[in-house]
Symmetry: C2
Subunit: 331 residues, 2 copies
């Protein structure tokens, strides 16, 4: 890696002259400018970002902490963040909390050590259940940017990007009702998350609002199960239903697959709605109906809000919570 100094020596000029020339400062002679630029090109000079970061106290890096990168939702959000950040000239450092408060706090702490300008975080289950947010306070204390998404908390005052979880399943349930479905079941693998409960709440509220009494027997909780297939099979043989809402992106696929094997005759009558996206919906046949949370867009939006804060020095405005509209796809 060539440095300014080395270039300067080569050209028999001073470091500052080289720096200015490369920045097209008007007080440098056209000829020297040209000479310097050619040399920079020749030696393939690249400014050292670390030095720059130290100098101007800005790393142009954003730190992302997610609970689980193997979860397609988070992978998609990450994708949106990375894409937008890159476009805006920011690097993206990622850390995974594995749903643990300790790891989350440690990640934040590490990145806080002058590595990033701001954070985009989705809180771990443990963080939310323990309601321990001191690491987030640290971020604010250090005057770094912070955007929370999806798994957020009202305890921390910062920008947020969320989806209306309750409304998503409410609307989905309403669609099923409008299709004359009478016994709508609910499956979930995320009953331990507040968004899981919100989604169940939306389902129940829709039922009540439309004159149905929620039947607890029609709620299947797969959370943490080692043998979800068996639970689903048992459920199939014990209960009658004509539609299913799934609270996550896996149980609907499992459910459909098992119904097709075990009760193929029911397939035409049972309507399923899960959470998914255009691409993943292709994995099943017939294509599953799905609520699209617009994960990539959530990532983009979060990155956008963060970068806005970082660059608009004037915007000491109050934090904003952006609600990303979801889409329900029925085929």
């Amino acid at each position: 890696m060539v440095t300014l100094k080395e270039l300067a020596k080569q050209l028999n000029v001073s470091v500052s002259t080289v720096s200015k020339a490369l920045h097209d400062a008007k007080d440098i002679g056209e000829d020297t400018k040209k000479r310097i630029k050619e040399a920079a090109e020749l030696y393939n000079y690249r400014p050292n970002k670390t030095a720059l970061a130290l100098k101007v106290n800005k790393t142009n890096t954003i730190g992302v902490v997610v609970p689980d990168i193997l979860n397609p939702f988070f992978a998609k959000v990450l994708h949106g963040i990375e894409e937008y950040a890159t476009k805006k000239g920011y690097d993206t450092i990622i850390c995974v909390s594995h749903e643990q408060l300790k790891k989350e706090a440690k990640s934040v702490d590490l990145m806080l050590q002058g590595r990033v300008d701001g954070f985009i975080i989705s809180l771990s289950t443990e963080t939310l259940s323990r309601q321990d947010f001191v690491h987030l306070d640290q971020i604010n204390l250090n005057k770094k940017g912070l955007v929370l998404f999806d798994r957020t908390t009202s305890e921390i005052d910062c920008d947020k990007v969320v989806i209306n979880d309750q409304k998503s399943t409410y609307d989905a349930t309403r669609i099923l009702i409008s299709k004359k479905k009478k016994r709508i079941a609910f499956v979930s693998t995320i009953e331990d998350l507040s968004i899981g409960l919100l989604r169940k709440g939306g389902y129940q509220k829709a039922l009540v609002d439309h004159g149905f009494e929620p039947d607890p027997d029609l709620v299947l909780d797969l959370t943490g199960s080692q043998h979800p297939h068996d639970l689903i099979k048992a459920f199939l043989s014990l209960h009658e239903f004509d539609a299913v809402i799934s609270a996550d992106n896996t149980s609907s696929l499992m459910f459909q697959s098992i119904v097709k094997s075990e009760k193929p005759e029911l397939m035409d009558d049972i309507m399923l709605i899960g959470f998914s996206d255009e691409k993943s919906a292709l994995l099943s046949y017939p294509r599953i109906n799905y609520i699209d949370q617009k994960a990539s867009k959530i990532g983009e939006k979060a990155a956008d809000m963060l970068i806005q804060r970082l660059e608009d020095k004037g915007s000491e405005n109050k934090p904003i919570t952006f609600e990303m509209p979801f889409e329900i796809h029925i085929s």
Copy 2:
């Protein structure tokens, strides 16, 4: 963020005294040490990593470039890298090439500007088809570490982590043959990748080696198709087969789902083997048979090799290519 300087001023000592005290240097008095450490604790001092990086010319950061983070394989590798790197005290910067040479090269170029100590890369389709590796040469030129994985090239001399793609499908096919399967089909959505061709090659070679003549009619190419379902349905109605090898992690799921709907009577006789992992295999019922590439382990291994190079100054040894053993799971 408190700096050494500020701490020093508070305590009326010099910056270097503070620095040394915090590093437990033996030449600082126990009492001052204690005083300084307490103050550091009190003011929540954290060393600035950017300054450190500049000072010691080591960023403790590794740059990762993958073609597509939405592909579960890459997400898993990333997971392995992140986990291992974090454990070893390294940050992970990620960039996505979207299968484009230009983006890949740009990402490398950006990270080369003093941001990372080394790279872990899986090459984009375009990079491989154009055989353009100048950006990788740049890495070597700048004496940064480089580990390629999965999508590699023999043109570049560096550490690599691969799986034996041909052998994976060869073995899988052999298993099908041993189960008395006579007409084994092959589906793929990645015929445009060299690993896709290797996997097909393994399938074909196994057939030949066991006295079967590969039937081109039994090879279904879904690459780039907008309507894979239709192609699969057509295939089902046109051809007879008793087993299927899938070259990727999506087509096997689609295939199984469609067979169950369109030709349920065949389900018991058709044996499928795809690429997947323990968790994703649960999405289908009956659980699909799968080749597990050990993606997380590939990530770990790549990170391990890179960090080894970065820290073992002595190891100017020749580059190594590590072949990650795969596992075939038949249920």
